[in-house]
């Protein structure tokens, strides 16, 4: 997660292809099309709802920076890299405008120190989804080619 990325102003979650669930210590995301699943650790559960619901990434980073205990540049670079990696996976999609809503991060009673977000990716379920691949249609019969 060290590559340089152009961080957008805000992002949204790709609900067409993925589903997610937030747990205390990680966020689980599942690709509903190819079966890949992801576990995002570190501080991800704290800022995930803000991130996927279109709040400004700059505002999220500022709120995380306010928690101290980590160098400010580390917060910005790790969150930006995290967002970039998830955009590459198509989990997050570009959103031009911040929704402007209050950050849930700031409303949380639990103020944990920032920990860089981590990404685990598992592809062991993909075979299940390739058992019955799509067939082309035979125009003459109106029926998919086997």
């Amino acid at each position: 997660m060290n590559r340089k990325v152009n961080t957008p102003a805000a992002v949204r979650f790709n609900h067409d292809s993925f589903a997610y669930e937030i747990f205390d210590r990680e966020v689980i995301v599942l690709n509903m099309i190819d079966g890949t699943y992801y576990a995002f650790g570190g501080s991800t559960p704290q800022f995930w709802e803000d991130l996927v619901s279109g709040r400004s990434i700059d505002r999220i980073i500022a709120a995380l920076e306010d928690r101290g205990s980590t160098a400010l540049s580390d917060v910005r670079s790790s969150v930006s890299s995290f967002v970039g990696a998830l955009m590459e996976e198509q989990i997050l999609l570009f959103q031009d405008v911040d929704t402007g809503a209050l950050l849930r991060l700031n409303q949380s009673a639990l103020i944990a120190p920032f920990a860089p977000p981590t990404i685990e990716k598992h592809v062991d379920m993909q075979d299940l989804l390739t058992l019955d691949p799509i067939h082309d249609v035979e125009p003459e019969k109106g029926w998919p080619r086997s």
Binding site: H15, A19, Y20, E21, F23, R25, E26, I28, L30, M32, I33, G35, Y37, A39, H122, D124, M125, L128, L129, D132, P133, I134, H135, D136, V137, P139, E140, K141, G142, W143, P144, S146
Partner: protein, 359 residues
């Protein structure tokens, strides 16, 4: 040519209305949770193929019929299917054909069977059309219409899960894991140990006041070459073997002294894993671990909405405890462990409820 789902529905309706009589039909009423589904097979061979895994579950007279399903084969009925005016943009990776669905109707393409299904949810009427009963693969005979059950369940606020489930006195545990993880082996080991069968691969799940699993099918499967196999199966001839000779199928309702539970209240999620050691053991697991073992294979195989399924499964794993279950080659010990675990969790639950009432 049939241009869309509305025209396809009309085609099947007209065929049904024009039948002078139903000379060869076999009717089967089967449970779907607390509801009933009525299936009319327009060919006795279809009834034999699909009905064996469904015949055990008879709904009560008061159970509402939520779907009337007609199953017809071209070779016995003469009902052919005209050219369908769809193209590849209408299809998805799964059986549902999104381009031929609307709020009232769902169309399925049954690729293996070279068949089609159309459901009108408003009229609670569905048609399955196949070229012949010979097109039905063994896994569809063992778990008939599972793809239809996925969508029907969602419309009732329920879902189908890819898991094994066993029950004892109305309380049960769920076995989670991908194919080959040991769900069926452990389920069958527990059945041999006297626990009730709910499912070895697919179950119906509902979370209203408490997490509950319902039986869907009577079939249980095991790999003939499996390294680990319950000892009682050594004396048991399979009822069916798949075309490749790799999988054996038993219909639990046809076995003396083995019982099927129609429903069970779930107390835990267990994740079997093979161990080289001789002792079975339980190790607590976190809710995310349970989700990872249950959600991907369920969502991958289901025709229901993935987000909807994720919500149900998340709620389950956040409610009941999860454990890794170490499974040695001798499956009697883990089955005994499962039985003791259900008793203990049931006692704990009863005590908590009692304390809550007293306080």
């Amino acid at each position: 040519m049939i241009a869309n789902a509305i025209a396809l529905q009309r085609y099947f309706h007209d065929w049904l209305l024009n039948l002078a009589a139903l000379p060869k039909v076999t009717k089967l009423r089967t449970c779907f949770g607390e509801h009933g589904v009525e299936i009319t097979f327009h060919d006795p061979e279809l009834a034999s193929a699909y009905g064996r895994a469904l015949k055990h579950s008879i709904p009560s007279a008061s159970a509402a019929t939520i779907l009337n399903l007609h199953v017809v084969a071209q070779d016995s009925s003469g009902l052919s299917l005209p050219k369908l005016g769809w193209d590849k943009t209408d299809f998805s990776l799964k059986r549902v054909v999104p381009g031929w669905c609307d709020n009232k109707r769902t169309t399925f393409l049954l690729r293996t069977e070279k068949g089609i299904c159309l459901i009108n949810w408003e009229d609670r009427l569905a048609f399955v059309w196949l070229p012949s009963h010979r097109n039905i693969p063994w896994w569809e005979r063992a778990a008939p219409f599972r793809w239809l059950a996925d969508q029907l369940a969602q419309r009732l606020g329920m879902c189908t899960l890819h898991c094994g489930v066993v029950s004892k006195d109305g309380h049960g545990v769920l076995f989670a894991g991908p194919a080959g993880a040991g769900k069926s082996t452990l389920t069958l080991a527990c059945v041999g140990h006297g626990l009730d069968y709910v499912g070895d691969d697919y179950c119906l799940f509902e979370y209203s006041s408490e997490p509950t699993c319902f039986n869907l099918y009577s079939s249980a499967k095991w790999s003939i070459e499996a390294a680990v196999r319950p000892s009682w199966l050594s004396d048991q001839l399979p009822h069916e073997i798949d075309e490749s000779g790799a999988k054996a199928v038993l219909y639990i309702d046809e076995l003396p002294s083995r019982a099927i539970a129609g429903r069970t209240r779930l107390l835990a999620v267990l994740m079997p894993r093979l161990t080289p050691h001789h002792q079975a053991g339980l190790e607590p697991a976190s809710p995310p671990e349970a989700l990872r073992r249950l959600a991907p294979s369920t969502i991958a195989q289901s025709e229901a909405d993935g987000g909807f399924l994720m919500g149900h499964i998340s709620r389950l794993v956040k409610t009941v405890p999860a454990y890794h279950l170490d499974m040695p080659e001798d499956t009697d010990e883990p089955a005994s462990l499962v039985s003791r675990l259900i008793s203990r969790l049931q006692t704990d639950r009863d005590r908590l409820r009692h304390d809550a009432i007293c306080s």
